[in-house]
């Protein structure tokens, strides 16, 4: 495997009882990419995401991150390789202050990325208008601010790869645009980014390459233009066929 | 050396041991399965059942009736507890643990103050018989039989009655059950009451085998908790039965070889090892095994 590959899964499979959540998935992300993962509900996006994070164990197959076999690796060790993750439902520390939310991640920072990482973090703080000394309890922030807080939190660790699960969920179009801009900028500095998203407006704004999942398999992969023109993709989303 | 009596004795020890664990854990298991609450007043509810049985027995009531009275008195206590205290802790498991522990202190100490340090004991009904070098108690065999009846009774209750259906629905998804017309608060009270009553019944049934004192429940607490921890909450009846059997299988040989206390220590060690391998208890692992094989839920 070449050094440019950040994520690679080989024949990754997982079932839950009778449901096939992942079926022989070969997913590959190269360094510096901004990849969006889309697919109808039940397509297996969350399962694939969870397996990449280490929250779920695959039944079979392998996962490589930064060239290392992480298939059996515990979640926290994967993060220490330089990965940042956000969740579908916001998991900032709601009972703690903004300042605490932004200082807790620090001990696991990847120090070789310090300069670039620090720059990215400060950019995000600025773009999202977050004050690292703010003592306001996170629960008192608006939904949008909470989402942005969680993104800023994972940047504290100076990751080289970030995986975001529906970062624009629940946002109106202005905030969605802002989120998209920030992610695009961060990616342009070299931060490999994988985003799971439903919002096609967001995807169109942000993605270079789109992976479409359907029934646990990679259904199609290509640029935004290719995917939106793809007849079968429209079918699975709109339920024809 | 005559092997058959030894084998029978081992079998007897195993089966009565399993019955002991099952009876000790029964009430606890019902409440845990339904509400995800460990009722730390469990030992005291057993004591209440035992005290009711003892007092009524010594007043002339036949033992079997006294035991059934024990069920009802403990069930009544359970209902009151649930209505006044426990229902405020649904969703707060640790809080429920702590508050029921406070209740257990009050009940235990209260019994001490009210009834004094001892009550006259109940003689073990029935006799015993020997085979080879070993003696077997009639009463314990009856308890084994009663345990089996209880298992069947509970299976019938949960799978063949309207209460059982409503209870299972509430366990799975209380909000949904409510919107379908199930009175979930009634179900909770009934279930807690049932668990308390069963604890009282167990206490009454086990009363002839122990000294009747305010803290008599304590000796059942450790085995009951271990049984529940090993069994898990996924399917309480299956978990309790499997766990009782497994724990008896551990305790019997070790207890015979090294004495009763070593047997109990072995139980704790076994429990620690089992939860390391099966963190959600035996019932969860059995459930996983069955769904993998058949794609269906376990009955």
């Amino acid at each position: 495997m070449d050094l440019g590959t950040v994520i690679e899964t080989r024949a990754l499979s997982k079932r839950f009882g009778g449901v096939v959540a992942a079926d022989n998935v070969n997913f590959k992300v190269r360094s510096g990419e901004l990849r969006c993962m889309i697919g109808p509900n039940g397509a297996g996006k969350s399962t694939l995401f969870a397996m990449l994070c280490g929250i779920e164990r695959a039944d079979s197959g392998q996962i490589f991150i930064f060239g290392q076999d992480v298939t059996r690796m515990q979640a926290f060790r994967r993060v220490r390789l330089g990965v940042g993750l956000t969740f579908q439902t916001n998991r900032a520390f709601h009972e703690l202050s903004v300042r605490e939310n932004l200082t807790i991640p620090q001990a696991s920072a990847k120090l070789e990325n310090k300069e670039a990482g620090q720059a990215r973090f400060e950019f995000a703080l600025d773009a999202f208008e977050l004050d690292p000394n703010d003592e306001t309890k996170a629960a008192e922030l608006t939904h949008n601010q909470l989402q942005w807080l969680e993104i800023a939190m994972i940047l504290v660790g100076y990751p080289s790869l970030i995986l975001l699960d529906e970062p624009a969920a629940g946002m109106a179009s202005d905030e969605t645009l802002r989120t998209a801009k920030v992610l695009k900028y961060l990616n342009s500095t070299g931060l490999t980014t994988v985003v799971v998203e439903h919002d096609m407006a967001f995807v169109k704004n942000v993605a270079q390459t789109v992976t479409v999942l359907h029934q646990g398999q990679i259904f199609a992969e290509g640029s935004v233009a290719e995917i939106t023109a793809h007849e079968d993709v429209r079918k699975i989303y709109l339920g024809w066929a | 050396m005559d092997v058959l009596p030894l084998v029978l004795s081992l079998l007897y020890q195993f089966v009565t041991g399993a019955a002991f664990f099952f009876l000790a854990a029964l009430g606890l298991v019902i409440i845990l399965g339904m509400m995800n609450i460990i009722n730390l007043a469990h030992g005291e509810l057993m004591m209440i059942g035992a005290y009711t049985a003892t007092i009524t027995y010594h007043a002339g009531v036949p033992f079997w009736l006294a035991a059934i009275l024990g069920f009802f008195v403990a069930a009544a206590f359970g209902a009151v507890l649930e209505l006044l205290i426990v229902r405020r802790f649904y969703g707060r498991e640790l809080g429920a643990l702590v508050v029921t522990w406070g209740v257990s202190l009050v009940l235990g100490q209260g019994a001490l103050l009210f009834f004094g340090p001892f009550l006259p004991s109940i003689g073990i009904p029935g006799g015993s018989f020997s085979y080879g070098d070993f003696s077997f108690s009639d009463y314990w065999l009856i308890l084994v039989f009663i345990s089996l009846l209880l298992i069947l009774g509970l299976w019938w209750l949960y799978n063949r009655t309207s209460y059982g259906l409503q209870a299972k629905a509430t366990m799975q998804n209380a909000e949904m059950a409510k919107s379908l017309g199930v009175r979930t608060s009634h179900i909770y009270t009934l279930t807690f009451s049932l668990g308390a009553g069963l604890a009282g019944l167990s206490g009454a049934l086990l009363a002839p085998t122990v000294t009747i004192a305010p803290f008599m429940g304590q000796q059942f607490v450790a085995p009951a908790f271990i049984t529940v921890v090993v069994g898990g909450a996924t399917n309480v009846i299956v978990g309790a039965v499997a766990s009782s059997a497994l724990l008896a299988a551990v305790k019997t040989p070790i207890g015979m070889a090294f004495g009763a206390f070593s047997g109990t220590v072995a139980l704790l060690l076994a429990a620690l090892i089992i939860i390391r391998i099966m963190p959600n208890g035996i019932s969860a692992s059995l459930q996983k095994y069955f769904t993998r094989r058949t794609g269906r839920a376990m009955r």
Partner: protein, 347 residues
Amino acid sequence: MSTIVGLIGGGADIGRTRVFWVGFGVVVLLFLLYPTQTSAFRVSNVSFYLLNIPLGLGMALLWGYCGVLSFGHVAYFGIAGYTYGVIAGNLSGNPFGPLAGVAGGLLASALVAGIFGYFVFYARVQKWIIPILTLVLTLLLETFLGQTAGYQWRIGSVLLGGYNGMTGIPWFQLGGFVFEGYSFYYLCLFLVLACYFGLRMLLNSNFGQVVVAIREDELRTELLGYDIRARQWAVFVLSAMLAGLSGLLYVQWGNYITPSQVGLLQAALPVIWAAVGGTTSLLAVVISAFTLNWVTYTLSSQGNQYAMVIIGALLVGTMLFFPRGIVVMVAERLGRLVTRRPTPSRP
């Protein structure tokens, strides 16, 4: 120096203003002067209330800050006490005996907690299992110690003593100086303050912040790169050592220890101190532990039978009406003086 001040003053516990610290200083001064005003008997009683505080602090650390509830924490109290008795008793001529006993006691608590903690945390069990299994452990310990009567139950020359317990436990001494009476009182006071400030600093440090984060959201903390099991295990062992410290002080206070110290009734007490005080504040638990020990000790030495019923009812009442703890909720009412955060500024 400023980091130390920062660590002490941080938000992990209530009380950060100047007024608070002045009040705190006054209270400490009162404690320092107390022995000059009363009899040796009363000083001994207050020593008893003080020596239980580290156990309470251990509970607050584990339960309030880390989110792990241990019902059987008194087991470590007993293990340390008995171990000290065995080691110091066997080395009774030796001037280093008591020191070895202390080291041995703390080590024994840490070891048992370490092994137990490994099984419990690395198995990722459901939260309610930990209180149950810790309780079972302490009950088993009580049963075991209770049946150690008789001459065959001894380690070296020290008898375990069965239900009557171990007696004649040697005093702790440094050099030739024996800590008893007034000097023991000051030792307890010093250790309580050291533990309190040490923990306060620990909880204000990054280590402590991550502990709180684990309590708030384990998954999120793990996915920030932290080994949460290792950290929970470490906090568990530390809190066991605090319980052990109380046990060590206890055997100094009475020169004896019995199996009932690890039994069911004793096990309830630290849980009650922590719940009544408010597990999220070290200071609140210091106050409640001291006060409740004073209450129970006074009640039982008056022959009052109702002590445990009252305590049990207090626990139930606190859980129902003061879920965050009586001291903490009173402090919250006192408002601005003791809030943990200044009024939030709106963006």
